[in-house]
Structure formats: structure tokens, C-alpha cells
């Protein structure tokens, strides 16, 4: 703690030559073990991008298998050896790919990459603080995440392959080494990586909560906070309360795997061998897992929702519609997130009465979700919309959230879920509503705050191509999966050739695979645009390029550690005074005039 205060004293003490103050830091303390929240945010983002490429590539590989189950691709054998013997993806490898794809995208990209990046970047900048409550813990948070990544990455290269029990890691499969190659060291490494990841999330979440509640600048009351900050706040609360429960479930799983306990195991026969385990309950794991697992959906979605709200208001040049309703609905979502976990378990033998309670609570989520959707649409309504790439991705988010949310109403009904559970319908639903939608929120955030992060713009032409191909591609990939699911096509299956009734989907599967390759290629183009623009992008010449009201645009174009030169600005109004009293926008720092109308 004393080290951090010295560092801060350094940052604050150099008012006169603030822009040059950080030159004293070495490369390592500035870019590697940095305690500056902006640098840590960039570290999360770039690490998240690397993981997104790996996770995305894995999905392309298993899509090849699903689209072209009979074809051989000799190049795969060149790269993956015995995992793709004869140019065909082997079953163990397929399950490994599916598992790592899910884990990496849910946790490493859309949790750490999304809220790690933007909570770090935006919280101090938008609330008017020089850094997080504990910059040191913040740095630790990144490095635990990095370490988790290293362990997860190494599991891909062990001889018996990565974990392959699915990203939910259900026992008994995941608890038994004898069950298959993926259940050997790969699963241990998966569990260790997740434990490290949970530590990282908790360190980050604690910091976000303390910073938002304790370190707001003068005048920044809670109801003057920009919506991304509220979203990050609820996200952090959800994470801090739900991740520990996953950790406790994972600890019991580690005991079952390595020390011979039977928390999750009972009466098991593997390959003819009768195991001594008795008295365990596999369902117990599912309760512990989904108590995190469902809030996790909102941990992923809420930051995207918050950023979309901000970007839509800035782009439409209109105040956000229903600020308090936005807060109320986020609060409702955060509470309900903890009360719906068993809707993932309707077919586990759950008491039907209990099931109907969870149906009711699940369908209730439609209410705050609809409030948010209508607020976004009314914000855009008759706005003077600037269709920047960020705005397009934010609008795309709303579209995907509606499409994916509606199918959630199907799945939330326990009777319909009997037919649809574990089919491609579920895959389609959560990919649209949680996966692609949150990615859109993330892209919107990157395009919008890139000038703040790097002092340059990203290339617009590439960005528009990126948007349109991804938007069309997302629907082309996932929309047909609903029909497959309704017809009963199960998820996670390696090969469906054995079912005559599924043969009708062979061409559809080819189409999905082709589109997913195109969409993946376009994401690589985005990555190129991102890195190219860091060095060669058009330079930002004004501190407030989007003409926005929030505090991050009052800092210098390339803010140093400490963010503001001199005093932290004081806040006099809410952040959404757009198109007010004949003025296009009124920054939060501007005092309220005598004759000004109320918003």
C-alpha cells in the first residue's frame, strides 16, 4: 500500500510537467506490471483478443467437422497430429475443442476481456478518480487472469489433451479419470485455471465496487453516474457473490478427483470396473455450478448493456430515455439472476412444483429486459443519429438482444424445455443473446473508446465491413440452429449421420460452417484494424471527439497516470444532457444555469 501511495504522490506531484511525468517509469513498470487502470484495461483487452482468436478458431475447427463430417482436411493433421488423424478431427479432440471454446469465450473473453477491460478503463475516468481504490490489487487481478490463461493454454498441449467434459464440467464425467483422456490431467489444469480466474475476478470486482462507492469526484452523486458505471457495479456485485460458490463446487470436485471423496459420485461403473464411491450426488454440483452459471450470464451481458446505453445516447444526440428505469431494471435483473438457476436443471428430476416457481421467476426477467429494450428504442426514436461503427454495433446489440431474448421465453418454460433441452435450440439461444450480443457490446465499446485508449481512431471502412458481415453472419449462423433444435438435433454431438431424420440438415450445416469461416476471417480483419490503428490510425486532435458529456473526455488526449492534469473536475449535472435548451450537448462539468430547464 505504501508503494502505491508513493506512485500516486509521484503522479499527482508533477502537475506542471504531468504529461512527461511517466517518462521516469521503466518499460516494465509502465507496460508490464503497471498499476495504471488504463494500462491494465488495455492488458485485459489485448489478452482477451488473443483468447477470442483461439476460442474462435476452435469453433471454426469443430464447425468443419459438423459441416463436412466425411471430408478429410490433411492440413489439420499437419497442425494437430494424432488429434486429427487422416485429416479428420478425432472425437476426443472434438470434445476438447467444444469445451475449451465454451470456457474461453464465456470466462476469458466475455467476462475478463469485457468487464476487465471496460470496468478498468471507464470506472475511474467516468466517476472522476485518479485510479482504482487499490491499484495494486488491480494489477494482481490482471496477473491472476494471465496466469489462469497460461495454465489453460498449457492444458491444450498435454499428451492426453485438454478438458473435454463441456464448459459446465458436470460430474460424474468430469470427476472420473478413467472416463477418458480429457478427464485426466486436462481437467485438473482446467480446474486450476478456473480457480486462478475466480481469484482474478474477485480481486477485480472488489476493487470496482469500492471505487464506485468511495471515490467519486465532487458532485458525482450515484444518480449522476453514467450507465456503464452502474452496469459495472451490478456486474461486480454479481461476480463477488456468485463466483465463490462456483469455487466451493470446484473444490469439492477437486477432492472427488484427487482424494477419493464421493461428494458427486455414487454407484458408478466405468468400463466394467465397479467404483467404491457411494452416497454422492451429481445434481449437487449442478446446483453449485448454476448458482454461479446463471448470474454469469448477466456478468457478461450487463457491461454490454451499460455501454450500449451510453453509446446510443451519444450517437442519437438525445438523453437516455428512462435513466431511473434503466437503473431499476438493472437492479431487478441482478436480483432475479440469483433466483433462476434451476431453469438449467428442469430435466434433472427437479420437483415439478419447484420447477414452476423457477419458470415464473425466469419469465419475470422478461419485464426488466423489455423495459431496457423499449428505453433503447425510445432513445433512438427521432434522434439525430450519427451512424458511427460504435453506434451500429450498439443498435446491433439491441437487435440481437431482442431475437435471443424471445427464444429465452421458450426455454424458460419447463414443459417446452423437456423437448428443447440440450438441443441446438439452446446453442442458438445463448449464442445470440449472450455470446454475439455481448460481443457487439464489446465491439461498440472498443470503437467508441479506442480514441481514449490510444489517442487514435480505428479505420472506419474496415469497421463498417466488420459490422455488416458480423451482423448478417451472426444471424445466418445461429438462426438456422433454432430449426435444427426444434427438430431434435442434439448439441455437442460429433456426428449425426446415424439419424436419417437429421440428414435433411446436411446442407444447412455446410452453409453454417462456410458462414462461420467468413465471420471468423472478418474478426481477424478487426484485429488487424485494432493493432494497425494503435500505431498508424488517424490521430485524435480534440479531447472530445464524439462530443459526449462524460468526464473521460475532459482528460488530455493521452492521459497519464492520474488522468487529469491539476484538479479533478467537479460534476454539476447528470451525463445525458443532449439536445437541451437549444444546445447539442452540455458536459457534466458545466454548472447548471439560472434559467435552465430540468431534464
Amino acid at each position: 500500500m505504501s508503494e502505491t501511495s508513493t506512485l500516486h504522490a509521484g503522479a499527482v506531484g508533477h502537475h506542471d510537467d504531468h504529461g512527461h511525468g511517466h517518462h521516469e517509469q521503466s518499460f516494465i513498470s509502465k507496460y508490464i506490471f503497471s498499476m495504471d487502470h488504463k494500462t491494465i484495461g488495455k492488458q485485459f483487452l489485448i489478452t482477451g483478443i488473443v483468447w477470442a482468436i483461439i476460442g474462435g478458431l476452435f469453433s471454426v475447427l469443430f464447425r468443419l467437422q459438423l459441416g463436412y463430417p466425411d471430408q478429410t482436411f490433411p492440413i489439420l493433421e499437419t497442425f494437430f497430429g494424432h488429434w486429427a488423424k487422416g485429416g479428420q478431427i478425432q472425437p476426443e479432440f472434438y470434445y476438447g475443442l467444444v469445451t475449451i471454446h465454451g470456457t474461453v469465450l464465456v470466462f476469458f473473453v466475455l467476462t475478463a476481456g469485457l468487464s476487465g477491460t471496460f470496468a478498468n478503463l471507464l470506472i475511474p475516468l467516468q466517476i472522476g478518480a485518479r485510479d482504482m481504490a487499490s491499484p495494486f490489487m488491480n494489477m494482481l487481478s490482471y496477473w491472476f487472469f494471465f496466469l489462469a490463461g497460461i495454465v489453460m493454454l498449457s492444458s491444450i498441449f498435454v499428451h492426453t489433451g485438454p478438458a473435454s467434459g463441456g464448459w459446465t464440467m458436470y460430474p460424474p464425467l468430469s470427476a472420473l479419470r478413467q472416463a477418458g483422456d480429457g478427464q485426466k490431467i486436462g481437467t485438473d489444469l482446467w480446474l486450476i485455471a478456473m480457480a486462478l480466474f475466480i481469484v482474478s475476478s474477485l480481486l477485480g470486482g472488489l476493487n470496482y465496487i469500492s471505487t464506485i462507492l468511495n471515490m467519486r469526484t465532487k458532485g458525482m452523486s450515484m444518480t449522476r453516474l453514467p450507465l456503464p458505471i452502474w452496469a459495472m457495479f451490478f456486474t461486480a456485485v454479481l461476480g463477488v457473490l456468485s463466483f465463490p460458490v462456483l469455487l466451493s463446487g470446484a473444490i469439492l470436485l477437486l477432492f472427488d478427483r484427487n482424494l477419493g471423496t464421493s461428494f458427486y459420485l455414487s454407484d458408478i461403473v466405468v468400463n466394467g470396473e465397479i467404483l467404491p464411491n457411494e452416497g454422492g450426488s451429481a445434481i449437487l454440483y449442478q446446483h453449485l455450478f448454476w448458482f454461479l452459471g446463471h448470474p454469469e450470464v448477466y456478468i457478461i451481458l450487463l457491461p454490454a448493456m451499460g455501454m450500449v446505453s451510453e453509446i446510443l445516447s451519444v450517437s442519437a444526440r438525445k438523453p437516455i430515455f428512462g435513466y431511473m428505469a434503466m437503473l431499476g431494471s438493472m437492479f431487478a435483473i441482478a436480483i432475479l439472476a440469483f433466483l433462476v438457476w434451476a431453469h438449467h436443471m428442469f430435466v434433472t428430476g427437479l420437483n415439478p412444483f419447484l420447477g414452476s416457481v423457477f419458470v415464473l421467476l425466469t419469465l419475470l426477467i422478461a419485464v426488466p429486459s423489455a423495459i431496457k429494450v423499449f428505453n433503447w428504442l425510445t432513445t433512438l426514436w427521432r434522434g439525430n443519429i450519427r451512424f458511427t461503427p460504435a453506434a451500429l454495433f450498439a443498435i446491433g446489440f439491441v437487435s440481437l438482444f431482442i431475437s435471443g431474448g424471445l427464444t429465452g421465453i421458450f426455454l424458460g418454460n419447463s414443459t417446452i424445455d423437456i423437448h428443447l433441452h440440450d438441443t441446438m435450440f439452446v446453442v442458438a439461444h445463448f449464442h445470440i443473446v449472450m455470446g454475439v450480443a455481448s460481443f457487439f457490446g464489446m465491439f461498440a465499446g472498443v470503437y467508441h473508446w479506442f480514441p481514449k485508449m490510444f489517442g487514435r481512431y480505428m479505420n472506419n471502412t474496415l469497421a463498417y465491413i466488420h459490422f455488416w458481415v458480423t451482423m448478417a453472419g451472426a444471424y445466418l449462423i445461429f438462426w438456422p440452429m433454432h430449426y435444427q433444435g426444434l427438430a431434435g438435433v442434439p448439441r455437442r454431438y460429433l456426428d449425426k449421420k446415424g439419424w436419417v431424420s437429421f440428414n435433411q440438415f446436411a446442407d444447412l450445416d455446410k452453409m453454417i460452417t462456410v458462414v462461420s469461416i467468413i465471420v471468423f476471417a472478418v474478426q481477424l480483419m478487426f484485429v488487424f484494424n485494432f493493432f494497425y490503428s494503435i500505431y498508424k490510425g488517424r490521430k485524435v486532435t480534440t479531447t472530445n471527439p464524439w462530443e459526449a458529456n462524460t468526464l473521460e473526455w475532459t482528460t488530455p488526449i493521452n492521459p497519464g497516470h492520474g488522468n487529469w492534469v491539476g484538479e479533478i473536475p467537479e460534476v454539476h449535472r447528470w451525463p445525458y444532457d443532449y439536445a437541451k435548451d437549444g444546445r447539442d450537448f452540455i458536459p457534466q462539468t458545466e454548472p447548471v444555469g439560472a434559467n435552465e430547464s430540468k431534464h
Binding site: 500500500m1 505504501s2 502505491t4 501511495s5 500516486h8 504522490a9 503522479a11 499527482v12 485518479r130 485510479d131 481504490a133 487499490s134 491499484p135 490489487m137 474477485l202 470486482g205 472488489l206 476493487n207 465496487i209 469500492s210 471505487t211 462507492l213 468511495n214 471515490m215 469526484t217 465532487k218 463477488v240 457473490l241 456468485s242 463466483f243 465463490p244 460458490v245 469455487l247 466451493s248 463446487g249 473444490i251 469439492l252 477432492f255 482424494l259 477419493g260 471423496t261 464421493s262 461428494f263 459420485l265 455414487s266 467404491p276 464411491n277 457411494e278 452416497g279 454422492g280 450426488s281 449437487l284 446446483h287 453449485l288 448458482f291 492520474g562 479533478i568
Partner: protein, 190 residues
């Protein structure tokens, strides 16, 4: 000036606040484990567990250490540094003694043929008490750091925050232990 502290002098120090949030998080972990215990204990083949008496000794040690750290905090604020060092040192010793007694309790259970085999009260006890002991050990590391700082001049600025944070955490692991003890006394037996 420490920028973490500027412009919020009326409010709780962020580090203290962070600790309270962290305590909420830890409570969720142990709530997860003890509710798993309750769910399992209502299912077939449940084997109850009776606590060895040595856990009462560790309870006494834990309560005493809560007292010593509170006194240490008071002497720190009164700037009685010698008394403070002695009391912190005493707390560290009591914390180590607590872990030793826990270990003895585990050994006594093990001697009663309650091993890792199965999934009854005994197995939950190993996991839950073990995890609690790990958190005590974590607190001990923090206390040891503070103890050493007490000798090497870092306390000259007399900021009581680190000591306060450590004391609050220590009271928390104490309260958590009482909860776990009562929980196992009442629900472990049937």
C-alpha cells in the same frame, strides 16, 4: 498525499470498505459449502460426524486471539508500540496454535476411520474446516507482515488502516469459525 484518500475524508477508507465486500464474498463461499452439506445430509447413505473435543480448545484459542488483536489495535492507536508489538506477536502465536489444534482434530477423526472415503459429515468437515484454516493462515501471513513492519519503521506515519483491516479480517475468521462450529454441532450429528 495519497490519491486513494483525497476528497473523501468523511467516508470509510476504501481498503476497509473493500475488506467488507470481500467478507461478503467469503460468506458466499462458506454459505455454498454449508448449504451443500444440508442438501447432502437429507439424502440416503448420509454418515453423521461427532466433533472431537479438541475443537473446543481451538475455539478458546481463537476467541482469545480476537481479544489480543483488538487490544493490539487499541495500543497502536494509543501509540504504545511496545505493547502493540507484543500483542500482535501473541495473536500470531495464537493463530498458529489454532491451526495446530485443528490439525489435531483432523488426526483424531482420521483415527476413528473417518477418511476421505465417502461423502458424509466427516468429508465435509475436512473440506470446510480445512478451507477455514487456510483463511486463518492467510490472515497469519498478513499479521506477520504487520508484525515485522512494527519493527522496521513503517509505522512512523501512524496510519492505523492496515492494522484495522487485519483486525477486522481476524474477527471475521473468528466469527466464521463459531458459525461453522455451531453448524457442525447441530447439523453434523444427525
Amino acid at each position: 498525499m495519497d490519491i486513494v484518500r483525497n476528497q473523501q475524508k468523511e467516508k470509510m477508507h476504501p481498503h476497509k470498505f473493500t475488506l467488507w465486500v470481500a467478507i461478503g464474498s467469503l460468506i458466499m463461499m462458506f454459505a455454498g459449502l454449508t448449504s451443500a452439506f444440508i442438501v447432502k445430509s437429507n439424502q440416503a447413505n448420509w454418515k453423521p460426524v461427532t466433533l472431537p473435543t479438541v475443537f473446543w480448545v481451538s475455539t478458546g484459542v481463537m476467541l482469545l486471539s480476537s481479544l489480543t488483536i483488538q487490544l493490539a489495535l487499541r495500543s497502536f492507536k494509543d501509540r504504545e508500540m511496545n505493547k502493540y508489538r507484543m500483542l500482535i506477536g501473541l495473536t500470531v502465536l495464537l493463530g498458529i496454535a489454532f491451526i495446530v489444534f485443528q490439525w489435531m482434530g483432523f488426526q483424531q477423526l482420521w483415527a476413528q476411520q473417518i477418511t476421505f472415503k465417502g461423502s458424509g459429515g466427516g468429508q465435509f468437515l475436512y473440506v470446510i474446516f480445512g478451507l477455514h484454516a487456510l483463511h486463518v493462515a492467510g490472515g497469519l501471513i498478513a499479521l506477520a507482515v504487520i508484525f515485522l513492519k512494527g519493527f522496521f519503521g513503517k509505522t512512523k506515519n501512524y496510519s492505523a488502516v492496515p492494522v484495522e483491516v487485519a483486525a477486522t479480517y481476524w474477527h471475521f475468521v473468528d466469527a466464521l469459525w463459531i458459525y461453522l462450529l455451531v453448524f457442525f454441532m447441530i447439523l453434523g450429528k444427525n
